[in-house]
């Protein structure tokens, strides 16, 4: 292929998240991208408390909560992209998850999450000096999950809880490459025919789990006086991406699309973690999540010289973090009521040869006396890619979570 876009003058209207795995599944929003979890390096799924809320890897945890928790999470991420010693910067804003947990005392606890599990976003436009047609590249894919969960403390073994969740997958995908003509193989006398002929290589489709309504997670949690553990298992599943491929002149001037379904075998996930509490309000935590990909992921691809597959590797998350819980007493000093966090993580992506190393600091600021908290986390890190093909990304992110806590359902003591 001819060296890309020597004729390009500039790009504009750029917005994208990580472009690694763009054609496969996109970027995974680890653990729902919750600001409170991110602040401690994505560790702490084993941590229990009054109002810890949902952990997407550990549905058993909410059995120990006593308060209703609702949280909404925002992410603002800045990326610096390095490729062949050239840099490019961009940013993105997204809402990776909403979570609601509802403890019901001896009846267990219910939870509901909306999680943007995988997403890829790219929106770039280029200006071409030789034709009036701009090239536009747009990717927009999100694999959403609606996750109801239920957890119950085991009778007689009150330090243990069991939890299960079902992940109902939905979402859609769109890829549109709007291009102008390349007349290099057309004789000069014939080039008139392509005037203003803008074409879009257009694909759209939907996501769902093949043959099942959902995939499932089960978890066991132990809460000790100082140390807590969890273990969870998530079933393997096949993601079904029904796609319509088209090559169209405009939205109303199209071919009859051809349909194709790509299937992505997502392996089972094993996750475990521990939380060690000392001096009442200090916690050290360690989490491990492991997913062993056997098969490569088929790409949206199928056009031009785009790769047909993305090779995979073992997908591992190793996270360690610290958290000093804020004082629950509203008459304590404000700085003492703030929750402080820091942590770090290593994540092997599902994309072969892609490794992410990151660190974060965070804090939870109580707002008012009722337990409403604003979680803020700053994170930074780098995604290393050593296949010479993808680029490396350095990221800085700000995550903001708004958590509301209520006492519904629990009686006054």
């Amino acid at each position: 292929m001819k060296k890309f876009l020597s004729i390009l003058l500039c790009f504009s209207a750029v917005s994208f998240a990580s472009m690694i795995g763009l054609d496969a599944l996109g970027e995974e929003q680890t653990l729902g991208g919750m600001a409170s979890m991110a602040g401690r390096g994505y560790a702490g799924s084993a941590k229990t408390g009054e109002a810890e809320g949902i952990s997407l890897m550990n549905p058993a945890r909410i059995a120990f909560d006593t308060k209703v928790v609702f949280n909404i999470n925002f992410l603002m991420e800045f990326l610096a992209i390095e490729h062949n010693e050239e840099y490019y910067t961009t940013n993105t804003i997204s809402i990776p998850s909403f979570n609601l947990s509802f403890p019901m005392g001896n009846y267990g606890a219910l939870g509901l999450s909306l999680w943007q599990h995988y997403a890829s976003i790219l929106d770039v436009e280029s200006e071409d000096s030789t034709t009036v047609i701009n090239a536009k590249m747009k990717y927009q894919s999100s694999v959403y999950e609606v996750v109801p969960s239920y957890a119950l403390r085991i009778p007689y073994l009150r330090n243990f809880s069991l939890g299960a969740s079902a992940h109902f997958v939905m979402g859609n995908v769109e890829r549109s490459l709007s291009l102008g003509p390349d007349n290099s193989e057309v004789s000069k006398n014939d080039s008139w025919a392509t005037n203003n002929a803008k074409l879009s290589d257009y694909v759209d489709g939907t996501w769902e789990v093949k043959n099942h309504p959902a995939y499932y997670s089960i978890a066991l949690q132990y809460r000790g006086r100082q140390t807590s553990y969890f273990f969870s298992f998530t079933t393997p599943y096949t993601l079904e991406n029904k796609l319509n491929y088209n090559f169209r002149f405009s939205e109303i001037d199209t071919l009859a699309p051809t349909s194709y379904t790509r299937e992505i075998d997502v392996p089972m996930t094993l996750a475990t973690g521990m939380n060690f509490r000392f001096k009442k309000r200090n916690n050290v935590m360690l989490d491990l999540q492991w997913r062993s990909w056997d098969d490569e992921v088929e790409n949206i691809g199928k056009s031009f010289s785009m790769d047909p597959i993305t090779k995979t590797q073992n997908d591992i998350l190793l996270a360690a973090g610290f958290q000093r819980d804020g004082s629950p007493l509203f008459y304590d000093k404000y700085w003492d009521r703030i929750t402080y966090r820091f942590g770090g993580w290593y994540k092997g992506w599902y994309v072969e040869n892609t490794h992410e190393l990151g660190g974060s600091i965070g804090a939870g600021f109580p707002l008012g006396r009722k337990g409403t908290t604003l979680d803020l986390a700053f994170q930074g890190g780098k995604r290393f890619v050593d296949d010479g093909h993808n680029w490396e990304e350095t990221f800085i992110g700000v995550r903001l979570g708004l958590m509301g806590v209520g006492n519904w359902g629990s009686t006054a003591r």
Binding site: M1, F4, L5, I7, L8, C10, F11, L22, D23, F78, A80, I81, E82, H83, N84, E86, Y87, Y88, T89, N91, S126, D128, M137, L177, L179, G180, P181, D182, N183, S184, E185, V186, S187, W192, A193, T194, N195, A197, L199, D201, Y245, N246, F247, L255, A256, P257, T258, S303, F304, S305, M306, D307, L374, L376, F378, H389, W391, T394, I396, V398
Partner: protein, 468 residues
């Protein structure tokens, strides 16, 4: 509380500012990355010519349903098509009373010739004077009633019902007559004296009366075009009376008129198109040579049979079908101007197929040099028609075994065949430049020979295939 928010906002702004300053941004990084991913910056266009395409069939369809001629009326015969002129009148009792009392009466028809044609600078000057001894069959139907609402009821008969009734025309009386026509350059009216029997039967009774009057001239050498009743200068039926020494006249305008056509073509296997009438020709090409041409060009299988069989590996940017033509032997035109050939294709829509008119993309260089390629009656020996929509749909869905069909018919005469505008426009001086004449040419073009000879298909194809 306010302080905390100020602190948080400050932190967020600081983070944004910091990240913006940290890195130098360079668009080359993005473009080189996109290139490495195999992302295109343009689609590749290739041209392919498929020669020796002989149509499987070519069929002509002539719609002989009478049409309203309320705006522009026509009468006579041209290019083997006979145009009968039918008028619908209503007479009230007052008028008929006067007619009946008179000692004698006569009737005439005044037809005001269309100045936009006959006075146009594009009308061939050597055509004047238009002269012939025109044999006309004048036939009529009179319907009478004493019912006061009779004429209102007649007016309520819809045009479509009336047109349908004209196909089964059974006149009360037919009179053959001959008119000596001579239209000079300055003439503006055609006056026809109507048979005595007509006015006599009209005035024979005093009651509300509807007259349907038809003029046919199957042997006419020309067609005559004049204003319809929608214009102030529409056709006028004049009745004059003479009582003692008093001469009176009264003009009546038909409330509607129609053009009833009849084909006089005697070759049923011929593919003849006529101007100004609703006829069209559907040409069908076999699928195999086109599929074979594409297979050889791409080295892929055509038709595409995977999955649902819809082929989106390439799209037709433009397609042209070129036929041979010989105007001398194949055509007859009244006005001597080139005539555009209008093209349509057949497209699927839900459960049905509809005809979509093709767009015409301008090859400006060629047009200014040789004129539009989609015309008959001008220099050259080929007719090139754009069939982009049809060919795009055909290749996309060829797996269902369909053939390629296109429709063509004669359009308007072209006044400036080398003007690349292809529509009337206003010049920088503020004058209107007419590319088309606003009147049809009642021409005839016999495509029988063209359809026997092979045509050439030229395709401009956009491909999604990779380079390697």
């Amino acid at each position: 509380m306010k302080k905390k928010f100020i602190l948080l906002s400050f932190l967020a702004v600081w983070a944004i500012a910091l990240s913006a300053c940290l890195f130098d941004s360079d668009e080359n990084a993005l473009s080189s990355w996109l290139s490495d991913q195999g992302m295109p910056d343009s689609y590749k266009v290739q041209t392919l010519s498929i020669e020796d395409l002989t149509p499987i069939s070519a069929e002509v369809f002539l719609d002989t349903t009478p049409r309203s001629a309320n705006d522009r009326a026509i009468f006579g015969r041209s290019a083997n098509i006979q145009h009968d002129f039918v008028m619908d009148f209503g007479f009230d009792k007052g008028l008929l009373g006067t007619l009946k009392k008179a000692d004698s009466a006569a009737s005439f028809l005044f037809l005001r010739l269309l100045p936009s044609l006959y006075k146009s600078k594009y009308f061939p000057k050597d055509s004047f004077p238009i002269e012939e001894d025109l044999s006309v069959k004048v036939s009529w139907k009179l319907t009478r009633s004493k019912k006061s609402s009779f004429l209102d009821d007649v007016m309520e008969i819809t045009d479509s019902e009336w047109h349908k009734s004209l196909l089964k025309w059974k006149p009360d009386m037919t009179v053959d007559t001959t008119y000596s026509i001579s239209i000079g350059k300055k003439d503006s009216t055609l006056t026809l004296v109507l048979p005595r029997a007509l006015i006599d039967s009209i005035r024979s009774e005093v009651s509300l009366c509807r007259l349907q009057l038809r003029l046919s001239a199957p042997e006419a050498k020309h067609v005559y075009r004049f204003y319809g009743p929608n214009y102030l200068y529409g056709p006028q039926f004049r009745m004059t009376t003479l009582s003692d020494t008093t001469f009176t006249y009264r003009n009546v305008t038909p409330f509607r008129v129609a053009d009833v056509i009849k084909s006089q073509e005697d070759c049923s296997d011929c593919q003849v198109l006529h101007g100004g009438v609703f006829d069209s020709m559907v040409v069908e090409f076999p699928s195999e040579p086109i599929m074979k041409g594409l297979s050889e060009f791409y080295g892929d299988d055509f038709p595409y049979n995977l999955g649902d069989g819809n082929d989106v590996r390439q799209a037709v940017v433009l397609a042209q079908m070129t036929f041979s033509r010989d105007d001398e032997s194949q055509g007859f035109s009244e006005l001597g101007r080139p005539i555009q050939v209008v093209v349509g294709s057949f497209m699927d829509s839900a459960t049905t197929t509809f005809r979509k008119m093709e767009e015409y993309k301008l090859n400006k260089k060629l047009i200014t040099k040789e004129g539009h390629p989609n015309m008959v009656f001008h220099e050259g020996d080929s007719l090139t028609l754009q069939v982009t929509y049809g060919m795009r749909e055909f290749i996309n869905k060829a797996s269902d075994g369909r053939t390629f069909k296109m429709m063509m018919r004669l359009g308007y005469p072209v006044l400036q065949e080398k003007d690349d505008a292809y529509k009337n426009y206003i010049t920088s001086k503020g004058d209107t430049s007419y590319v088309f004449l606003s009147q049809f040419d009642y021409a005839r073009y016999d495509f029988t020979e063209s359809m026997k000879k092979p045509a050439t298909l030229k395709l401009w194809l956009a491909s999604k295939r990779g380079n390697d």
